[in-house]
């Protein structure tokens, strides 16, 4: 399992392909790879967003991200996992986060991947500051619960 905090533009598809290439001992064992990629939108709360700054707590971030993967591996039969997260200045259409889970079966891969995303959003020490098209900037106060039903 691997986590990485990245301070420049990255290609999640290539990163996951490269990582999977290295999983030689697991070839033929994983039947399911679930990949989630989170990308920056150009809108939030009815406002047009030009960019954002993502602050984090170096050291604690990596520790918490690894704990998210470990908890998923304790709950589901995860063969391997990769978690990549951007920090610093990010602009619309750039990838922010990638979670990849390798498992024998799709159900476990989907569930573990979802769990890691929801868990990191409430536990990993990241803070978003949005730069609005109006020139104003604001800290995002809280994350939504991804499991909650939209009303």
């Amino acid at each position: 399992m691997k986590v990485s905090v990245i301070d420049s533009l990255f290609d999640p598809w290539q990163a996951v392909a490269d990582y999977q290439q290295g999983l030689t001992a697991l070839k033929g064992k994983y039947g399911a790879t679930c990949l989630f990629v989170g990308t920056m939108r150009d809108f939030n709360q009815d406002d047009s967003v030009k960019g954002m700054y993502l602050e984090h707590y170096p050291g604690m971030t990596e520790k918490q991200l690894l704990a998210c993967l470990q908890q998923a591996a304790d709950k589901w039969p995860v063969l391997d996992a990769l978690l990549l997260h951007r920090v610093g200045n990010i602009y619309p259409d750039e990838p922010i986060v990638a979670v990849a889970i390798w498992s024998s079966h799709r159900g476990d891969a989907f569930d573990a991947c979802r769990f890691v995303m929801e868990s990191l959003k409430s536990n990993a020490p990241f803070w978003k500051k949005e730069l609005l098209a109006s020139g104003e900037s604001r800290w995002v106060e809280k994350n939504t619960n991804g499991y909650a039903k939209k009303t």
Binding site: M52, E55, Y57, G59, N123, A124, W127, K142
Partner: protein
């Protein structure tokens, strides 16, 4: 003999500084660390606290050499 106190994001901006070094003469709880570092200022209601990069509550004991961090609710992931 000191405790390193760190602040992040909007809390860091409100306080106007990223960290404090607190000279220690005894053991403190987290809430005592806040009061020593920020006299007369209440700890924000929704603040999250970590000691040595692990989440704790306000009653946790802080020892010499520990790093205490105070920060607002976290907002990582996709946006």
């Amino acid at each position: 003999m000191s405790i390193k106190v760190r602040y992040f994001a909007s809390l860091k901006e409100q306080l106007g500084r990223a960290e404090d070094d607190l000279a220690t003469v005894r053991e403190y709880t987290v809430s005592q660390v806040w009061s020593e570092a920020n006299p007369g200022l209440d700890m924000p209601d929704n603040v999250l606290i970590a000691v040595n990069m692990a989440y704790v509550d306000q009653t946790a004991v802080v020892k010499d050499g520990d790093e205490v961090a105070f920060f607002p609710p976290v907002t990582g992931g996709e946006r």
